[in-house]
């Protein structure tokens, strides 16, 4: 499985994602600058975290019109895995590949801390080798991660089993205030995943947690 890690001006978790594939999982990976438009040779696309275009206007709003996005939307619609993490999730929402919106955290602060996630839907390439209800520890680092959606959208996400991860029920377990504790969602076909927490920053015990690696292992069928 050959991975593409998309690089926008302002991406800052691109090297973390590259590290996962190149050095930990030892699978082919390339950085792809946002001006490139041909993604045919890649089997999966990672849109990493960071502050694309300085978060100007709205998070992800400008990146969504980068040349590479048209190809990403095309590949996503053709069924290729597209995984957006943090700012990548914000970009996927702006591009219309995922529903809802990510607004400013409930207490208006940038949050940089570990969270505990619960695996909800295991019906995707990303979560197929995880157990429903399993707890995963990994960091969040964002100011606009408070997921909201209208009632109909929330119902659809629930009914179609498209909520991949939720924040913990524990006190302060959902620090950004996301509706229904939603931390990560899938598109209808379940080949597109967006999540605010950073699994790529929790892939070796020296980082404090290696729970995130299982999501990437699941992607490449190495459970």
């Amino acid at each position: 499985m050959h991975f593409a890690v998309i690089v926008f001006p302002g991406s800052n978790c691109d090297h973390d994602a590259y590290h996962v594939f190149r050095h930990i999982l030892d699978v082919p990976v390339n950085f792809v600058w946002h001006r490139e438009t041909d993604l045919k040779k890649y089997d999966a696309i990672i849109i990493p975290g960071g502050f694309s275009y300085g978060d100007y206007l709205r998070t992800g709003a400008i990146a969504r019109f980068s040349p590479v996005m048209e190809s990403i939307i095309k590949e996503a619609n053709a069924g290729k895995p597209v995984f957006g993490i943090c700012n990548g999730f914000q970009i996927l929402i702006e591009s219309g590949l995922l529903p809802g919106a990510l607004i400013i955290n409930q207490d208006v602060r940038f949050l940089s801390q570990d969270v505990t996630l619960e695996v909800d839907s295991t019906d995707s390439i990303y979560t197929r080798s995880l157990k429903k209800g399993r707890k995963l520890t990994m960091p969040i680092a964002h100011k606009q991660g408070n997921f909201i959606a209208d009632e109909d959208t929330l119902k659809i996400l629930e009914n179609e089993n498209r909520i991949a991860f939720r924040y913990s029920k524990n006190k302060n377990g959902n620090p950004n205030g996301s509706t229904d504790r939603i931390a990560g969602i899938l598109n209808k076909e379940k080949n597109v995943l967006g999540m605010m927490p950073h699994p790529e920053r929790a892939v070796e015990s020296i980082l404090g947690s290696d729970d995130g690696i299982d999501i990437f292992k699941s992607m490449i069928g190495m459970a």
């Binding site: 206007l57 809802g100 919106a101 607004i103 400013i104 955290n105 409930q106 208006v108 408070n146 909201i148």
Partner: protein, 81 residues
Amino acid sequence: MKAKIYISYKEGILDPQGKTISHALDTIGIKKINSVRMGKYIEMEFKGISKDKASEITDESCRKLLANPNTETYSFEIVEE
């Protein structure tokens, strides 16, 4: 000619920044404010086009980029300098 564009959260969308501002105003003794909503103000300048054309361009800009249709509404006025 100038477009003055106002972008605000739709009703029903939480606005934590507005809420924080509201608390702060209360703290410094400014009372009787029912609620505060925070939005964005954008100006765009045009040269050598009609007011209708400027309005059309402004509307397209709002729809395609400046406002997020999921969470925000927009309004604008075109003013002669």
